[in-house]
Amino acid sequence: MSVINSLIKLDHYLERIESWILIAGVLTMAGNTIANVLGRYVFSQSIYFSEELNQFLVVIVTFMGLGYATRKGMHIRMSALFDILPPRTRKVMMIFIAFITAVMMAVLAWYAFEYVQKIAARGRVTPALQFPLYLTYIWVIVGLALASVQYLLTALKNLNLKDENVYVSHNRIDSYDDPQTESLLARQVDNGQDFDSPLNDKKGSK
């Protein structure tokens, strides 16, 4: 268990790094796209590398977000049949699911590595910025590998059969509450308080 615990501690730092990459990726993407529109309409001059930069950012956000979303238990599953199984069976199933997914991610990470190596050897560069193409693809390897680790941690966390809970990720227990709805609801509570509308009166709700 202690190995898992130290891995989880390490994972905490990883989460922070992934968060910053996602934040920087999204904000740059927004800035770039907005600047391009403004450039086109206000100064009638498009940014020549805008599309290329966005492609690069989309690849980063997609694959670096993979591990992050896995950790948060955000990936959509069809859990209807899963949910009616008895707890013990669910737990075993989750180990199976997480393990197989981890293997798939690892296999893909390996082929991503081969692919990026091939591109690096050919010395391909991006058309507008003349930037080495393989550097924009390295994130795919990293992202898939980190996702594999996340699923492996999930499988390991569920191995402890004494613990009744089924974990969808190493730090999230399986529940009906959808993470996205939860965060939307949290915002409602933040905002509703000082609003003076009569429509906001929640007395009648049970």
Binding site: V26, T33, A69, I100, T101, A112, Q180, Q188
Partner: protein
Amino acid sequence: MTFLMLTVMVCLLLIGFPMKMPLLAAAVLGFMIFMPDLSLQIVIQQMIGGVKPATLIAIPMFILAADIITRGRSATRLIDLVMSFVGHIRGGLAIAVTSACALFGAVCGSTQATVVAVGGAMRGRMLETGYKDSFTIGLIVNAANLAYLIPPSIGMIIYGVISGTSIAELFIAGIGPGLVIVALFSVYCAWYAKRQGIPVHPRIAWRPRLRALRHALWPLGFPVIIIGGIYGGVFSPTEAAAVCVLYAFVLEFVFFRSIRLKDMADIALSTGALTSVVFILISAGAIFSWTLSYAQVPQTIINSLGLEQAGPLMILLAINIAFFLGCMFVDSVVVILILVPIFAPLISAAGLDPVLVGVFITLQVAIGAATPPFGCNLFTAIAVFRRPFIEVVRGVPPFLLILLFVTILLLLVPDIALLLRDAAFR
């Protein structure tokens, strides 16, 4: 072999694997069976290629704009606006919910956010006025689906990219059916209120109406940018999305001061994570559809269903049924990614208008989201209203019937969708 591929996919789906796995496993399996000499590097190449189309940037931009808006009070302002105008007619409160959902859907495009924002604010008030809870929740989960049809719509963007259809045309074509649904829902609400003897609210004077309009003016800028900008040919959907982000930021940060600069990190993070969840599916969908077409799976399926000689109406009907059934069980993005490549050869062979097909698909996606057993709005409603599944589902059937009626109506009169599109683009 095709059968093996599809069986593996369905099994992984049913067991409860994360949704990217059925797509990836089917693709990798098909790849190894049909192209044993090729390296799996092509899988990676296709996965990267799948997220690269420039138009897909509209998705994170619309998600980001919605993320900013839902932290503010745009929803309450829009609700106040429609309440002040329709509150006094019979069933006014229910009609206000329908219109508010349509308006908010035109602002942010997420059905979940619409259920939370409009439903959360209106359910208590509807119950107080005497509406039954089953009717109230049924109305909210179904009216929230207008967010799919009324632009911006993420489902339409994905369909547009993978089928090579103009997203601008899809957006404009979705408006007509959306308005028809608003109208039919409103008629049903009025009839229901009359039968149940639900009291009407007093008519509101023009002065407060104008005040409500002034309050809602800023959020109403979103539909002007998106619908007006695209209809008028000023913006492409991606540009409209970027302008929306800028507008949302200026609105909530500068004018309303509902977000602070440090909130932007939070917002960007949740947008990034959600984008990744959707894009990894698109990425897996790209290699899935590539393998599918390489192995000629669509033809095999179409032949085995006896659809190769079918007429356009028959094909549309088949598409509707397939998407309706699919969306009852599986997340809409996944259904679009799996079924569109399968039907694609059939659609082009029959010479069907891909925009019309896209509207039908979006309509079925919308219906499926509120249909038991697994419509995603139902689960949002369970979480938001803290009611058990069975109570959330009870009020759905009448609205489902209306939506299926709209499907038939659209089959008979495609101009409901195409008239606006033709006016704007032809």
